[in-house]
Symmetry: C2
Subunit: 302 residues, 2 copies
């Protein structure tokens, strides 16, 4: 199960009752945070989830509304007695920005590892999941992220039997080990059935729509995408500031064949984003006009 | 009139329903902010007061809970179309810390002036008020602040008459000008009656109790002081972390002859600070267990 909480839905500045956009995902005891603006630690506390197991923090870019909460979050994780290292991933400049912000959080009881993303796309593997960063199109270098949990193919005893694989090897092969017995090498794929669908969450903010976002969100179980403006006539403003409208996000979700779209990163000028629900659902039915603290538990099929 | 709003009452980290401790004072169209932690811009917005007229920001010290909201506040002031310079005052290191934090707020439509406080005490004069910084006793260099509005003595026509001051000079002298007429120099004090009480707000956090705090809070109209712990048995913890209990703050307010004490900067472990109201008022009757957004309008007497 991959648990997802959209901690906030605002863009630009935190507002009373609207935290800045940030995602927390939990998988198998490990938490992943994407973006950490001013107040994200409070938003997290409101969900009741702990900051302590955050093993990885990804940053889309370094505008203040996406990273200004980092020093406070790190200190709060320290106060929660975390001692394991934390990995930070972000665009080039990450080391400079984080080092600068740590002027006010110099002493932490855990190590900070930093990875600056190279090129247009890069994949990072962790225990049980991977994070795929992909370049988007904002007015500064900015990345979207996929959180992907692969699912092992099911053990297929018929195939194992058909290949005369010794019974005592079924279990180690099923667990992913390659085994050599009496000079013959057996590999895990020999006992596995068809590949099974895993889980994918695609997260994208701040950007104009791009083909790469659509590709990355293809068949996503959940596509979380910025919608800075709900008013259709704000398209020019969206272009100017390198953001997108609700409708542009919905069109991408449709092209990508995503299961569900969560809109977020609303402009402070958009007081009631749910006003535009009908229009945006006319483009992509499974659109959620997200609210702060929106959660879902994504499960493997069957 | 000096308007005062205590934007938050928390220490260490912002919590749901408890912003970090920060003070906004307004006088004659100018706003003064003391400390700006994570979320202070939201707390300010909740009061309905604008961030735009903040001419001066004072920082007690550079622990994150007192300054982490600075980049966001500056950006929001810029979005509010402020163009006038903003003066920042704080301990030595201010330039380094602010420059570092501005990595995520590099472009602002106004100039930032920075003043690092020299020595144990320093006074800064602004249009109509002054700010007095005084060293307190924390585990890093930390200052308390007085915001002082002086009140001119009243014009005394009896005195002017008794000294045969020509009638045409009464008005310029009353306005504070020194005038020479027919070789005789007349000074404003010649036409003024007894000095009149002005207004003083004393703000102190984070610190152990000190004599200097008592001196600075002497006869303050409002003494805003940290009370990290309400539980009397946390005195040792207070000493260790260089904070104070509610009772230590109340004792200082009593010694200083302050009119009113507002406690603030509660530990996250103190869920219900008002539980200790009775005990602390036994020491100093005019104690307020402050809440976020507590406001008062301080008026000149009569």
């Amino acid at each position: 199960m991959l648990e997802v909480a959209l901690l906030g839905t605002g863009g630009m500045m935190p507002l009373p009752n609207r935290w800045l956009t940030s995602l927390l995902a939990r998988y198998n005891g490990s938490s992943i945070l994407i973006d950490c603006g001013e107040g994200t630690q409070v938003a997290l506390r409101e969900t009741g989830w702990s900051p302590k197991p955050i093993d990885v923090m990804c940053f889309t870019h370094f505008h203040a509304d996406h990273i200004s909460g980092l020093p406070g979050m790190l200190l709060t994780m320290g106060n929660a007695e975390r001692t394991e290292p934390v990995t930070l991933i972000g665009p080039k400049g990450l080391v400079r920005v984080v080092t600068a912000l740590r002027n006010i959080a110099p002493e932490l009881p855990f190590e900070i590892k930093m990875i600056e993303i190279e090129g247009n796309a890069q994949t990072f593997s962790f225990d049980g999941y991977r994070i795929e960063a992909f370049r988007v199109n904002h007015n500064v270098t900015c990345y979207g992220y996929n959180i992907v949990v692969d699912r092992n193919a099911k053990f297929d005893p018929q195939r194992a039997k058909a290949q005369n694989i010794p019974l005592e090897l079924w279990n180690p092969l099923q667990k992913g080990n390659t085994v050599t017995l009496d000079g013959v090498t057996y590999t895990p794929d020999m006992v596995l059935g068809e590949a099974r669908k895993g889980l994918k969450v695609t997260y994208c903010t701040d950007s104009r729509p791009t083909e790469s976002i659509v590709e990355n969100a293809t068949n996503a179980d959940l596509f979380i995408c910025e919608g800075m403006y709900g008013e259709p006539d704000k398209i020019e403003k969206a272009k100017e500031h390198k953001h997108m409208t609700f409708y542009e996000a919905a069109n991408m979700a449709k092209k990508a064949g995503a299961r569900e779209l969560w809109l977020t990163h609303y402009s402070p000028s958009t007081n009631r984003p749910e006003e535009f629900k009908k229009q945006v659902r006319a483009i992509f039915e499974n659109t959620v006009i997200s609210r702060d603290g929106q959660t879902v538990d994504l499960m493997f099929e069957d």
